[in-house]
């Protein structure tokens, strides 16, 4: 970004642009020069999902001249509950392509640079170098730490936002004087403690709220106005509609941005977060419950296909099916099986005592939680426990297409 000592020619605005940004131009805090600064600015949005969607849209509306988008994913119908930059018409498209359509439709004067890739230690520094400000809208801890470290190493501020169910956090990290993400969280949580949105769920509007807060901070940084969230953590509670700010301090001992940094290059963030490298089979992201590999036996638990279960049920075999999802999932779709959520199973195992030596098949939504539950039962002395591979989703896919998938 241009500093006071650099001589930089700000880009001119055409008459059309002046008409478009009129409401900005008549604000003394923005004016012609401010709008030109916005046009000169280059912002990278890491992630074009829940947070990235409102973030990118508002930055485009504001007239940010160059917007980079990093996303390797494709649009799925379940994204449309919150990722308002995509549409029903773009389901199946690459997210960066889908986002570009909406962004250019809103503001044809901007440049959209698409990075259809996963951000990794191998490419982050190279990608970041062409931008002034980074906006982190990712959804996993490895990338959070990666973005932070790359921002500190390249000297770019990080407009940070994150959400979980009904709560959000926002701040600006990695400015020279301010703290970085590691000052606040030197250590990632153990895998399994914090579920991803696909498992925990999220109120659709929440990333909208937090994403626009991030966009606001980006614009304040570009224009040099207001008090940014540097040194503050904003906590948003959508259910209570309460906003709190906590003080953040730069940690002089921070391994990334402290006085004696030990992070001098990007590391293996999977290892840092205690995550196993993604297997050839299975999703790439960290899930609270690891996806179960496709194999007949996993960790000593036989995997049963939905076809096999159907055969057993049709033949009226003496099989005890156990559903280990949460109670609120049951009405969406169920196999009529008794339900004990996986989180309470260990303490309620006595309720299933009569089935200790029966054939027990455990199911959940996709087969990950039920694998965990099967291990709990095996540990408790059950002699014949199997996991329904693919869960109720596989049943809806292959056995009963009238069953909704969620």
């Amino acid at each position: 970004m241009a500093t006071a000592t650099e001589e930089v020619t700000l880009p001119k605005l055409s008459n059309d642009e002046i008409a478009r940004y009129s409401r900005h131009l008549i604000l003394p805090e923005v004016g012609m020069e401010g709008q030109q600064k916005l046009k000169a600015a280059k912002v990278l949005c890491v992630g074009t999902g829940g947070l990235g969607a409102p973030l990118a849209l508002y930055l485009a509306a504001a007239g940010v001249g160059t917007l980079g988008l990093v996303d390797f994913d494709t649009v799925d119908a379940s994204n449309l509950q919150r990722q308002i930059i995509h549409s029903t018409a773009t389901v199946g498209k690459l997210k960066v392509d889908s986002a570009e359509i909406m962004l250019k439709g809103l503001n044809p004067y901007m440049n959209v640079v698409k990075h259809n890739t996963m951000l990794t230690s191998a490419n982050a520094l190279e990608i970041f170098k062409d931008y002034d400000i980074i906006a982190d809208g990712t959804d996993n801890f490895q990338t959070r730490y990666l973005v932070n470290d790359a921002c500190v190493l390249t000297g770019k501020p990080n407009a940070y936002g994150s959400i979980f169910r009904f709560e959000g956090q926002a701040s600006v990290f990695a400015t020279k004087e301010g703290p970085c993400y590691r000052c606040l969280y030197p250590e990632p949580p153990p895998p399994g403690l914090v579920p991803s949105c696909a498992e925990g769920g999220v109120l659709g509007i929440l990333p909208g709220l937090v994403g626009v807060i991030q966009a606001t901070e980006v614009i304040k940084l570009i224009l040099g106005i207001g008090d940014t969230l540097v040194g503050r953590l904003l906590l948003v509670d959508a259910l209570g509609m309460s906003f709190r700010t906590l003080k953040l301090r730069k940690n002089p001992d921070c391994p990334a941005c402290g006085t004696h940094p030990t992070v001098t290059e990007l590391i293996d963030y999977d290892q840092f977060c205690g995550i196993e490298k993604p297997a050839a089979v299975g999703p790439l992201e960290v899930a609270q419950n690891k996806a179960v590999a496709e194999a007949p036996v996993v960790d000593g638990i036989p995997q049963v296909t939905v076809e096999t279960l159907k055969k057993k049920l049709d033949a009226k075999e003496d099989v005890f099916v156990l559903d280990v999802r949460e109670p609120h999932e049951y009405p969406i779709a169920n196999l009529g099986a008794p339900l004990i959520p996986v989180g309470s199973l260990a303490s309620r195992v006595a309720e299933l005592a009569e089935h200790k030596n029966d054939e027990v098949i455990v199911h959940c939504r996709s087969g990950a939680r039920s694998q965990k539950a099967a291990l709990i039962l095996k540990e408790a002395g059950f002699t014949n426990v199997s996991n329904l591979a693919g869960g109720i989703l596989a049943w809806a896919d292959k056995i009963d297409p009238s069953m909704p998938k969620y």
């Binding site: 990712t138 801890f141 979980f164 969280y185 250590e187 949580p189 403690l193 579920p195 906590l246």
Partner: protein, 93 residues
């Protein structure tokens, strides 16, 4: 004194967002909290009793790491402790 429990840990407090404890120091309040809700303990503390570093503790607005007495900081009835764990959702999925 109130302790605010973050969403990921509420399954260990029976869903409660706020827990009332008495304690004359931060440590005292936390000890009461983990006595009442023992499942919180391994999530908040390491084996040798230190607060895990992905969990931040705020006494009102201040991070206790930066208070002179840290976890031994004295507390009053009107104070509020907030536990802030890291969350990462941004919802690409």
């Amino acid at each position: 004194m109130k302790i605010h429990i973050p969403t990921p840990l509420r399954s260990f407090t029976g869903g409660k967002e706020t827990v009332s404890v008495s304690g004359s120091t931060v440590n005292g309040a936390l000890a009461q909290l983990t006595t009442e809700y023992p499942e919180l303990k391994p999530n908040l503390f390491t084996a040798d009793g230190k607060l895990r570093s992905f969990v931040n503790l705020y006494l009102n607005e201040d991070d206790i790491r930066y208070l002179p007495a840290k976890e031994d900081s004295p507390t009053q009835e009107s104070d509020e402790l907030t536990i802030i764990p890291s969350i990462a959702g941004g919802c690409c999925r």
